[in-house]
Amino acid sequence: MARQGVLVEPYQRLNQEQIERIHQASLDILADPGIICFNSDAAEVYGDFGADVTPVEQEGPARWLVRIPEKIISDTLQAAPKVVKLGARHEDNCLILDGSEPRVRFASGSEANNWLDVDVETFISKRDPAREADFPVFRVQKGTVDRLAQAAHLCENLDSWDSFLRTVNIQDDDINDENKDVNKFFASLNNTTKHVMSGLTELAQLDNVVGMAQIIAGGEARFKENPIISFITCTVKSPLQLVDDTTQKAIEIAKRGIPLVISSSPQGGSTAPIREEGMVAQINAEILVGMALTQLVNKGAPVLYGSVPVRARMDDLNDSYGVPEFSQYNIDCVQMARYYGLPCYSTGGISDVNVPGIQASVERLFSHILVTLSGAQYIHYAFGLLERTNTFCPIQAVLDNTHIDMVKRFVRQPSITSDRVSECLEQVRRVMGTSHKLYVRFVRSALRSGEVTPSYPFEGKGMVDETLLRARENMEQMMSQPPHHIDRATIDRVFQQVPGLLPRLREY
C-alpha cells in the first residue's frame, strides 16, 4: 500500500498546440542561446553525448557554453522513469508518483530560517476596561534541530501532509556545514514515518546521509526497494546557468540511483520573462537540461520534474506567491511534465505575508486549489510557509492541513452510479411521503462514512475570529501525541556508524 493522495480530473490551462509550442521554444532555447555551464563534469558529459560545448573566455570561474541538440533531450526523456517511488520508514506511507496519473500528494518545503510561534495574550479594551479578549501574538524564533524534529512530528500527525521536506534551516550553535546534513536527515527520519526529502548542504556528506538511510531502511538492498529519503537540487541559476556545486550534487546523487528532484525557480519579471509563454519555455528548458544530465550519467535514474516558477513583486522584486500568475505558471509546468510523462514536483500554498491571517489564507488557498486541480503528483511548499518561504509556522501548517483536506474533498471524482441514483430516488419518494419533507435523517450514512465534510474545525463562538486560538489548541494536541521514533537498536547502529550526529539527538 502507498499513500493515495487525491486523483483529480486535471484542469488543462494549455491546449495541446500551446504545449507543443512551448516544448519547441524550450528546445530552441537549449540550442540557441544554450546554457552556460559552470561544472566541468557536466560540460564533458554533454559534449560526449553530442552537445556543442565551447569554453567561455571570461574572468572568474571556468564556464562553458553548451548548446544541446534535440536528440539529447528526446533520448533522455525516453530513458527517465515515468514512475518514481518515494519510500518511507512505514511503507504504507510511501508515495508512488506516476507521471501519467494526476494523483496529487502534499508536502512541506523550503528551509526557512524562521520558526513562528503563536502565543495567546489577553487584551483589555481601552474604551471599556471591563471587556477582555484573547488574541494571538507572534514570536519569531530561529530554526533549530529541535524545531525541525517538532515539525516532523507534526507532519506525522497531520493526515494530508504526505511527505516531509525539511521545513527549517537548522541554525544551532553546534551545527555547521559538515554536520548539518546528517543531523537534519536524522532529526526528520526519527520523528516521522513518512518520506523525507531535503537538499544536500555538503556533497562530502552524501554517503554519510545515504549510509544512515540504508541502516534505517534495513540495509542497502532494502533502501533500494524503499528509498526512505530523496534529494532536491536546484541545478540551475536562472536564467539558464548550470551551477557548479548543485550540478555536481545532481551528478553524484543520480549515479547512486537515489530519487532526485531537478528543480528550477526562475522569477517572472527578473530572471525569466514575465509572460507565461516565456517563463514556462525557459523553466522547462532549465529542468530538461538537468533531467538530461541525470540520465546521461545514469540511464534510468529516478528523477522528478521540479517546477518552482514564481513572479517578481513590482515594489521590491521579492518573490510573489500570492498572485494569480504564480498558479498559472505552475499549472503550465504541470502540463509540460505530463506531456513528457514525468512525475511533477510542483508548488502551491504559500503566501507573501509574515503572519497567519486573512491574507495568508486567501493567497495560499488560491494556489492550493488551482495547482491541485492541475494534477501535479507532488506539491511542495504546501504546509506552514509564511513571509514567502522565509518562515515556517506550525499553526499555519495545522490550518493548511484542514484547508488541503477541504480541497481534496472538492476535487474528488463524482461517484454517480446507477445504484446511488436509485438510492436517491427512493429517498425522494420516502421524504415526499412525510409531512415535514426533510432529508435530514438520510444524511446519516454519508455522515458516518466521512463523505460529509465537517464544519470548519477552528470556528469561534462569539464575534471574534478565534481561528488561530483553536488551531493552536489543535496543534498542541497533535504535538502531545506519542512520537514514532526509530527503534533503539537501529539508532545505536546509526550513531556507531555515521559521523557527525549530535549526541543530544540520541536522547529522547
Partner: protein, 230 residues
C-alpha cells in the same frame, strides 16, 4: 418477552429507525423491524403502554440526548430518533386514555402569514413529537385568524410561530395581537423562532419565549407547558 420488545424499541429509537426499511447505524439492524413495526407488535402482545413509553421511547430518547451532548450524535441522528418516537406516539395515541396515561401536552405549530419557509418549523415539530407532545402542524403561510381558530379548537398549551423573512416576522406580532383581540392570549403560551428573530424581538412582540434552535424550542416548551414558565 416484554423486556425483549421494550429493549428492542429502545435500541431502535437510539438507532433512529422508524420502519424496517431504515438502515440505522449498524449493519445488523438492516431488515429488522423498526420502531413502527415493534410498537404494533407490542400492542398485539398487550405490553403495558406506560412501559413502552417510559422504558422504550423516553429512555431511548434520553440516551440519544446524551450521545448528542457528547458529540457522538449529530442533528440528523437526533431528528431520526425523534421521528421514530413521533411515529410511535401517533400509533399509541388512541390507546393513551384507556391506559390511564395523561397526554404530555398539545402544541400548535405554524409558519406565519406570507412565509413559505417551513424547515425550522418542521424540525421543531419532529423534536416536539419526539419529546412526547401531540403537535398540530398548521403548515406555512398561516393567517392569524387560522391560528386563533386552531387555539379555540385544539386548546393547546403552547403555540410555536416561525418565520424566515424579515418582511414576515412582523406577522408574529400581528398573530399575538389577534389572540389578544379574541380573548385567547391568556389561555395559551406563544413561542417564536426563525433566523431573523431574537430574544429581544420576542419581548417586543409580547411572546412568552424564543427558541434559538430546535432544542432550545423544546426546552422552552417543556418549561412553559409544565407551568414553570408562566
Amino acid at each position: 418477552m416484554t423486556e425483549d420488545i421494550i429493549s428492542l424499541i429502545r435500541e431502535n429509537v437510539i438507532q433512529g429507525r422508524v420502519t424496517q426499511d431504515d438502515e440505522g447505524l449498524e449493519e445488523e439492524m438492516v431488515d429488522q423491524p423498526g420502531v413502527t413495526e415493534l410498537i404494533y407488535k407490542a400492542l398485539d402482545q398487550k405490553v403495558d403502554i406506560t412501559d413502552i413509553i417510559n422504558r422504550g421511547l423516553t429512555e431511548g430518547m434520553g440516551i440519544v440526548g446524551q450521545k448528542f451532548e457528547t458529540r457522538e450524535y449529530f442533528i440528523p441522528d437526533m431528528l431520526a430518533s425523534a421521528e421514530a418516537v413521533g411515529a410511535a406516539m401517533e400509533i399509541l395515541e388512541p390507546h393513551l386514555a384507556s391506559s390511564g396515561i395523561k397526554a404530555k401536552g398539545k402544541i400548535v405549530m405554524a409558519t406565519v402569514k406570507g412565509d413559505l419557509h417551513d424547515i425550522g418549523k418542521n424540525i421543531v415539530t419532529i423534536l416536539l413529537r419526539g419529546a412526547g407532545y401531540t403537535v398540530k402542524d398548521l403548515g406555512n403561510d398561516v393567517e392569524p385568524q387560522a391560528i386563533v381558530d386552531a387555539v379555540r379548537q385544539e386548546n393547546p398549551q403552547v403555540i410555536g410561530l416561525s418565520a424566515l423573512l424579515t418582511s414576515t416576522m412582523t406577522q408574529m406580532g400581528d398573530t399575538i395581537q389577534a389572540l389578544k383581540d379574541s380573548g385567547l392570549r391568556d389561555k395559551v403560551k406563544v413561542i417564536i423562532g426563525g433566523a431573523p428573530v431574537s430574544e429581544e424581538f420576542a419581548r417586543s412582540v409580547g411572546a412568552d419565549g424564543y427558541g434559538a434552535d430546535g432544542f432550545q424550542a423544546v426546552s422552552i416548551v417543556e418549561s412553559l407547558a409544565s407551568g414553570a414558565g408562566s
